[in-house]
């Protein structure tokens, strides 16, 4: 009885705490940076009062889009990781491990660098960048899906995913070799991952795609819970496996593809956050874990972004998320043994 009470009282409290932390770090992320911003300036800017100061410019056109991007990217990578873990029934699955990020990278590489060889100047086009990253990400996922119909063993599937990732990486190297320096630089900067590349104009593309992906994930939570028990049991519960697999792939492609397109590959958030969410809420029920992953992912990437600002030279977000995420995963695996 005691245990039951503990579990049911915990949930709303945890959600409240996580929401508070999310807002707290959102504000902190806006205030911190190469230029520290006084809180009064922020409150004024948020009330829509244009003080015409430099601070106002920084807040509205730089810090808020960046903090929003951190939240969107953290949330969507976390949910994409959760979807992958449920689909492949493997705790180490994630958009980066299974080659989605590598596929997106290949798409961007082809677009930015191979595109620069063409007479048409399309490389600066935001839509083209997103489309190529999403296409690359979904492409790898489709290959993985096709393989998953043949190979049931999830460890083998994981290894194949990593191999596809390496192949994509090798292809990228080949392309890099033949591309012009400007395009190469554009691509290398993209791979380091950056949250500040998203302007308000790009936000109009990123936010709807991410929200659509999150909505889709929330709508299929019942089927996801069924999949936890394995394909046979899921079918026995009246769930169409083909349909749910396709929906998961679309959602993951939207979430991981769109985010990777704009921010570059951000490692480990996708693998680590679902475990964090499950551990906190002591549940695998997607009804809880999807919203929990959204909040935890947003918080974690906001924290990562704040850390990147500590040094004078901005550290790539990809490095920080790996420094955070990798030990978290090691800890999870050791704890399980």
């Amino acid at each position: 009885m005691l245990k039951q009470k503990k579990i049911y009282n915990r949930t709303p409290l945890l959600f409240a705490a996580l929401s508070f932390l999310c807002i707290f770090f959102f504000i902190l992320d806006i205030l911190f940076g190469s230029v520290s911003i006084p809180l009064t300036e922020l409150t004024q800017a948020l009330w829509g009062k244009n003080t015409n100061s430099t601070f106002y410019e920084i807040i509205i056109n730089f810090r808020i889009p960046k903090a929003l991007t951190a939240m969107l990217a953290g949330a969507s990578l976390a949910v994409a990781g959760l979807l992958m873990q449920t689909l492949f029934r493997n705790p180490l699955a994630g958009p980066d491990v299974l080659g989605v990020s590598a596929g997106a990278g290949l798409g961007v590489a082809l677009f930015v660098m191979a595109g620069s060889l063409l007479p048409l100047s399309i490389s600066g086009n935001g839509w083209g960048l997103v489309a190529s990253a999403i296409t690359g990400g979904i492409g790898i996922l489709l290959i993985m899906l096709a393989v998953s119909f043949k190979i049931r063993n999830s460890i083998s599937l994981l290894i194949i995913g990593i191999m596809f990732g390496s192949m994509a990486g090798a292809l990228i190297s080949v392309i890099q070799n033949y591309s012009n320096p400007d395009a190469l630089k554009l691509f290398v900067v993209w791979t380091m991952g950056s949250l500040s590349a998203v302007s308000w104009a790009y936000m109009q593309i990123l936010a709807p795609l991410v929200l659509l992906g999150l909505l889709l994930a929330l709508l299929i939570q019942k089927q996801l819970n069924g999949l936890l028990l394995g394909e046979h049991y899921a079918r026995g519960l009246g769930i169409s496996i083909t349909q749910i697999r396709i929906l998961i792939i679309i959602a993951t492609g939207l979430l991981a593809g769109a985010v990777t397109a704009f921010t570059g590959p951000i490692a480990f958030i996708g693998v680590a956050v679902p475990h964090l969410a499950r551990g906190l809420f002591r549940s695998s029920n997607h009804q809880l874990i999807i919203p929990a992953s959204i909040l935890c992912g947003a918080i974690l990437l906001l924290i990562c972004d704040i850390i990147t600002q500590i040094s004078i030279y901005t550290i790539p977000i990809n490095a920080i998320s790996a420094l955070f995420g990798a030990p978290l995963i090691i800890w999870i695996i050791i704890k399980k043994k």
């Binding site: 039951q4 019942k222 936890l228 026995g236 519960l237 009246g238 551990g279 549940s283």
Partner: protein, 253 residues
Amino acid sequence: MLLRTNKLAIGYKKTAVQSGLNLQLDEGELVCLIGANGCGKSTLLRTLAGLQKQLGGEILYGDRRLELLNANERALILSFVLAESIEVDQLSVFDLVFTGRYPHTGWLGNKSNLDIEKTEHAIAMVQLSHKKNCFINELSDGEKQRAMIAKALAQDTPFVILDEPTAHLDLPNRAAIILLLRKLAKETNKAFLLSTHDLDLAIQSADTIWLMVENGIKTGQASNAVLLENIQKAFSSDDISIDPKTGACKLTR
């Protein structure tokens, strides 16, 4: 409702494991499917559960053919417990058993009071109420098996198919599971079909025995002398002899 098969052929790809099966399963009945390893017990159960296609003949649930039912209609008619165990972390018994309610819920799977009540009731029927908030990977094998049975009960289908529910269990737990299924068959008036290697338990508890041999299935009541003789013939070898009355086996030295 009645489950009937008509000249059913089962197997993989083009190789038939069994063919010409005419079987019948009625409400409230506990049927034990016995037979040597590799004779096609699991294949039959998986085929009846709709997890793999039959090679020929038909399977009728009531007057409806299995292959013409959609996924959800099927989930309202039959539930199953497979031989493979599930490996999920942080999944409570309640959440597991509640998945059985999915065919009855809407797209989002929101819990109605009736669903919660049926889930609790199913957990109570397998005597796991005290563990309903435990994670399933904290349960013993016997408790895990009971939780899976509760999931099938929560699904509230007229037919429940179980593939070797007593494998991996110690003797008291095997007996407990079979007696539980027998009790549930009488109380819920559902049909339970299970495969097992526990001849003695099967003979002592089942209403009907399906004995699968190389070329077909012999069916009969557990007290049927001809059937018992067939069981003795099917399982006796140089190493063991089977007592035809109880199914107990004895090593021949």
